[in-house]
């Protein structure tokens, strides 16, 4: 048995505290029987969880968030899978800047990006709120789609594709029957990552939400500005539970190994 250095142990513990600490605090605060966010919690009550479902704005914005996240992720994959394929298959022939270009949405401060989208799409084209939001989120999650699918394609041996073509399979059909099934895991991982990123996004949504249409995180911000009760904490716990559930389903069906690979 190898002995770990005390420094390593301390660092590891610190990392866990910083990662899990906030979650524990939020979870604890959500069951507090007080009218304000309190930690450590005082008393025990589940009424704030009930309250989450009673505030209609949360329900509405959750549905909108869900639609935006689903559609945005879907669109980003629609663009991202072919892009990732082209980058890994013909990358040597493409300008190097191209693969960096697709990461730009991560590098540009999202506040700036949200503002530019507002002035470029919302104002200039006078597009309704929902499509504007959808475009914004699609762009924001596109890097995740391309990167994660790209990582999956990096382990794919393209000579299998050529083998299929030589056996009489047309190129497009080869992509569906040979390439796609082998990057399924990567696509699913990209989907989940992009979905969660979209669901959590604040800076871009902040600029693009408009009258009557908002996303859940923005609604939560608005709520906290007006009320300081533990409802938001309860909602956060529910969102965490949802994420854990999704992860658990993925783990059961595919194994989380797909994410690490």
């Amino acid at each position: 048995m190898q002995r770990s250095s005390p420094l390593l142990v301390i660092t590891a513990i610190a990392v866990f505290i910083f990662l899990l600490g906030p979650l524990v605090i939020v979870a604890a605060a959500s069951i507090s029987n007080t009218e304000f966010l309190a930690f450590p919690p005082q008393g025990f009550s589940l009424r704030w969880f009930v309250n989450v479902f009673e505030v209609s704005a949360f329900r509405d914005t959750f549905l909108i968030s869900l639609q935006i996240a689903l559609l945005g992720t879907f669109l980003s994959l629609l663009i991202g899978i072919p892009a990732a394929y082209a980058l890994s298959r013909f990358g040597f022939a493409l300008p190097k800047a191209l693969s960096n270009f697709f990461v730009l949405p991560i590098l540009v401060p999202q506040i700036v990006f949200g503002f530019s989208l507002l002035s470029a799409i919302s104002v200039d084209f006078d597009l309704p709120v929902f499509p504007t939001l959808l475009i914004g989120h699609t762009i924001i999650v596109l890097p995740y789609s391309i990167r994660v699918v790209g990582a999956s394609l990096a382990t794919f041996d393209f000579s299998a594709e050529e083998a299929a073509i030589s056996l009489g399979c047309p190129p497009m059909k080869t992509f569906y029957t040979i390439v796609l099934p082998n990057i399924r895991g990567g696509i699913l991982a990209a989907f989940i990552l992009a979905f969660i990123t979209s669901l959590n996004n604040v800076p871009v949504s902040l600029f693009l939400t408009g009258p009557g249409i908002s996303t859940l995180p923005i609604q939560m911000l608005t709520y906290v500005e007006n009320f300081f009760d533990p409802t938001v904490a309860a909602l956060s716990v529910l969102l965490m539970a949802l994420t854990v559930l999704v992860m658990a389903v993925v783990e059961k069906t595919l194994g989380l190994g797909y994410f690490v690979r």
């Binding site: 041996d157 000579s159 299998a160 050529e162 083998a163 299929a164 073509i165 030589s166 056996l167 009489g168 399979c169 047309p170 190129p171 080869t174 040979i178 099934p181 082998n182």
Partner: protein, 353 residues
């Protein structure tokens, strides 16, 4: 149907670099021809061009006289076997082998029968339901071979198929490849950088250098009568001497050059031009006493014992060479000697200017 293959005047470029230069290659129906050369010589490019994954900038590719240059890769009816097997990881062995038949619309029942028969032939019937990941390298390559053969292609292409296997398996597999190719009577092109592999299984070998074919002939002729210095060097004639004829009398030609002098019997060596290059393998140079009239003067250095003979490293006017010496009469390090020729292990090449 066994078909012949003709490449005529093929040129190919990657961007601005020309990788094939006006290349011609004729392969008779049923022949197994190897493209042999170092990496970057254009052999794989030639193969990909025949398969339809690359397009020539000039020239034509013809199967049985019919130009297929414009035919898409998936319509060429060519079987391919890759170095890294290129099996479909998500399909069972049987599905891998049956893939080509499925594309051709062969009914499931017949498909199963033909796949089963093919798997039997390559000795993998018991593995039909396995995924490729559960197979060894040799088994994977057998599956790849079965997959390419089962569609009865007009042409079978091999791209360094044995490079990822260990030495013993390579020897077994190449015999197996040759047997299957013969049994199915399929025209085949085999790309490799391994001379022994190419020579052992091919009807003819094209030795390639810098996008051109240096020499195209049977292994026997390539091995004994290389046409130029490149091929000579490739097949093991390591020592080259530039010689000039100084006298011809009584069927014996005397040639001199680079400090060496040889009396060459015309009955053995054939008619010789006035100037030529003589190539010799290590076994083609024999160490004799310095008192010999003819030979290449040498100063011996390291001696190694090989059971049947000694090998010497020798410093000569043409550089440091390896020569063979009799077991009966060992020389010592530092001895002066003459190296004489063993005709069967030498070759005559055109003079290099």
């Amino acid at each position: 149907m066994t078909k012949s293959l003709n490449l005529t005047g093929i040129s190919a470029h990657y961007g601005r670099t020309q990788v094939l230069k006006d290349l011609d290659l004729d392969v008779k129906a049923g022949e197994l021809v190897s493209l042999l050369g170092a990496s970057g010589c254009g052999k794989t490019t030639t193969l990909r061009l025949i398969a339809g994954f690359l397009h020539a900038t000039a020239g034509r590719v013809a199967l049985d006289g019919r130009d297929i240059s414009a035919v898409a890769a998936h319509r060429r009816d060519i079987g391919l076997v890759f170095q890294n097997y290129a099996l479909f990881p998500h399909m069972s062995v049987a599905d891998n082998v049956g893939f080509g038949l499925k594309q051709r619309g062969v009914a499931p029942q017949e498909r199963r029968a033909r796949v089963g028969e093919m798997l039997d032939k390559v000795g993998l019937a018991a593995f039909a339901d396995r995924l490729p990941a559960a197979l060894s390298g040799g088994q994977k390559q057998r599956v790849a071979l079965a997959r390419a053969l089962v569609i009865k292609p007009s042409l079978l292409l091999f791209d360094e198929p044995l490079s990822n296997l260990d030495a013993k398996l390579r020897v077994d597999m190449r015999v197996e490849i040759r047997e299957l190719q013969r049994a199915h009577n399929i025209t085949a092109i085999y790309v490799t950088h391994d001379q022994e592999e190419a020579f052992s299984i091919s009807d003819r070998v094209a030795i390639m250098d810098a996008g051109q074919i240096s020499q195209y002939d049977t292994p026997e002729i390539l091995y004994r009568k290389p046409a130029n210095a490149f091929v000579a060097n490739f097949v093991g004639f390591e020592t080259m001497m530039g010689l000039r004829v100084t006298g011809r009398s009584g069927g014996v030609t005397t040639a001199e050059g680079q400090g060496a002098r040889f009396a060459l019997d015309e009955a053995t060596w054939g008619p010789l031009p006035d100037a030529f290059t003589l190539g010799a393998r290590a076994d083609g140079l024999r160490v004799m006493a310095a008192s010999e009239d003819d030979g290449l003067p040498a100063k011996l250095s390291v001696r190694t014992y090989l059971g049947r003979s000694y090998h010497y490293r020798a410093e000569t006017p043409v550089g440091s060479v390896v020569a063979n010496g009799s077991i009966d009469r060992p020389f010592n390090e530092g001895d002066r000697a003459k190296l004489v020729l063993v005709p069967e292990q030498c070759c005559i090449l055109p003079a290099t200017p």
